[in-house]
Amino acid sequence: MEQLIKDILVDACGSEQVLEDGVDLLDSGLLDSLAFINLLMALEDEGIDIQPTQVDRNCFRTVEGIIDLVKKLQ
């Protein structure tokens, strides 16, 4: 599961940089609006349904935050 989410994130943001330690996905601009839309749509294709209004967008600052969020939703 963790690997799947990492793969989806790299694909949505278009950069391996998202997996580097200490990267803030939001501040760095890696996860901008378009990447965020792509991420949500790719997760939905995997049966993971994230409604932006149901979660704190700050969960998307790090890869770990996104993985934790997905685990919580399952």
Binding site: Q17, G29, L34, L40, Q51, T53, Q54
Partner: protein
């Protein structure tokens, strides 16, 4: 006509809320009085363009109206602009005054520019109406330019009036504009001209929404619901983001009657999804460059358009200007078109937009650009400007900036190819001092990895 109409709306309904942002409100009367008071000061103070550095505080709209009242150009600078860029803007338009309507995120002082907070402004002066001309500059907006500098676009009162008359000639937009118009765009981005024109000229309320509210979509929807937003003005990217949430639908936002979209292409799937979520909503797709005041044409998307490959961007029988095609390029001529860039010779003849297009059954379609300009997240970016700024950074010998696109042709991200290879994180920080964040590439790669192509134009697009 702009000020007369605003004044008439104020006379008819002085207590009506003109501007709302969170808990801040301004009635038509308050807005008028505060604008007159500020205009009186600005009139005495000088003649130069007035830089206003803020985000979505209602005072931004007071400063806009005050500038219109005294005939000094309004130069809105959103908090997202880096100081380096603000300095360039001040220098290019020879601004001598900077207003701070709200607390700035960073300390700011610009050479040869007097900085004033709201509290510094005396309010004991009396405004005297100046002589108006249609050619008086209403505002100057800056966009990305090919020369490595931002490009200043002065828009006259006459341009704004022509655009507003066209906008409000569409009943599907004019009716909800009398209620509440929801703003999304930064005020330094000319899409916002549509929301303030629509609200203030129709006697409606302008609901300004902040970056923080848009970041937490639930808060944005709550604002629309609480204040009964009727007309949403936004970019297609923002609409796509809203659609990621199932609660963006007619049942949950029953007040929403129309959406005005401009700034980048609207895709068929997004329009179709929108029609499904809001079956009776008017979806208005518009087109126009900043040089021709927000939008020059548009149309209501109808079910039959959804079966096409791409959506039309305007009905030529009802455009704000004269639109012609020359060698596939869209040319614009008429009362919404500006007279020339800041510091450059005046425009001669119709304005060549640089956009490529075609006409079918009286409808205009866009098919790309003839230069290195792209649209990313609704923002207009000239890749050449980023390249030039990069090449001025210490250590960089050569740079190429490209836009990476997905299968639908939508720009997904910006990539910079540089030589010699330097730490991307360091470059990113340096660029952020000079360029807005949406212009800072997310990838920095060594030049050797640049996709080879015999045509350098193709790879920079």
């Amino acid at each position: 006509m702009f000020l007369e109409r605003f004044y008439e709306n104020m006379r008819q309904n002085p207590q009506k809320i003109a501007v709302q942002q969170g808990e801040h409100t301004l009635s038509y009367q308050q807005l008028w009085q505060e604008a007159c008071s500020l205009a009186a000061f600005l009139q005495e103070e000088g003649r130069s363009p007035v830089l206003v550095y803020g985000h979505k505080h209602p005072r931004m709209i007071i400063s806009l109206l005050a500038c219109l009242l005294c005939g000094r150009p309004w130069v809105p600078c959103d908090h997202s602009l880096p100081i380096g860029r603000m300095a360039e803007i001040a220098r290019l338009c020879k601004a001598e005054l900077l207003l701070l309507p709200e607390e700035a995120p960073q300390p700011l002082s610009l050479q040869k520019v007097k900085t004033m907070t709201w509290e510094d402004i005396p309010n004991s002066l009396t405004w005297t109406p100046p002589a108006y001309h249609k050619v008086t500059v209403a505002y100057i907006m800056f966009t990305s330019g090919t020369t490595g500098q931002p490009k200043g676009i002065p828009i006259s009162i006459g341009n704004v009036e022509n655009f507003a008359a066209w906008l409000l000639s569409h009943q599907e937009l004019a009716a909800p504009a009398q209620r509440v118009v929801v703003n999304q765009a930064n005020l330094s981005f000319d899409l916002s001209v549509a929301d303030w024109c629509a609200a203030l000229l129709s006697g409606g309320t302008l609901l300004l929404t902040t970056k923080e509210e848009q970041f937490q979509l639930g808060r944005f929807f709550q604002q629309v619901r609480q204040h009964q937003g009727a007309l949403l003005v936004c970019t297609p990217t923002f609409l796509r983001l809203c659609l990621c949430d199932r609660s963006f639908c007619a049942q949950s936002l029953p007040s929403l009657q129309a959406v005005f979209l401009c700034g980048e292409p609207l895709s068929v799937p997004t329009a179709a999804q929108m029609k499904q979520r809001f079956p009776s909503l008017s979806l208005f797709n518009a087109y126009g460059p900043t040089e021709a005041t927000c939008a020059v044409c548009g149309l209501l998307i109808q079910p039959q358009h959804l079966s096409q490959q791409q959506l039309p961007v305007g009905d030529l029988s009802h455009a704000a200007v004269t639109i012609t095609l020359k060698d596939g390029e869209i040319y614009l001529d008429g009362d919404s078109v500006f007279k020339g860039y800041v510091g450059q010779p005046p425009l001669q003849g119709p304005y060549p937009s640089g956009d490529l297009g075609f006409i079918e059954n009286g409808l205009l379609y866009c098919s790309g650009r003839r230069d290195s300009q792209i649209k990313y997240l609704g923002y207009r970016i000239d890749l050449e400007e980023i390249r030039q700024v990069l090449e001025k950074l210490p250590g960089i010998q050569q740079a190429v900036v490209t836009a990476q696109r997905d299968a639908n042709g939508t720009v997904r991200r910006l990539a910079a190819y540089i030589t010699p290879s330097l730490d991307g994180e360091v470059l990113r920080l340096q660029l952020r001092e000079k360029l807005p964040s949406y212009m800072v590439p997310s990838l920095f790669l060594p030049m050797e990895q640049l996709p080879l192509s015999s045509n350098t134009k193709a790879i920079t697009r």
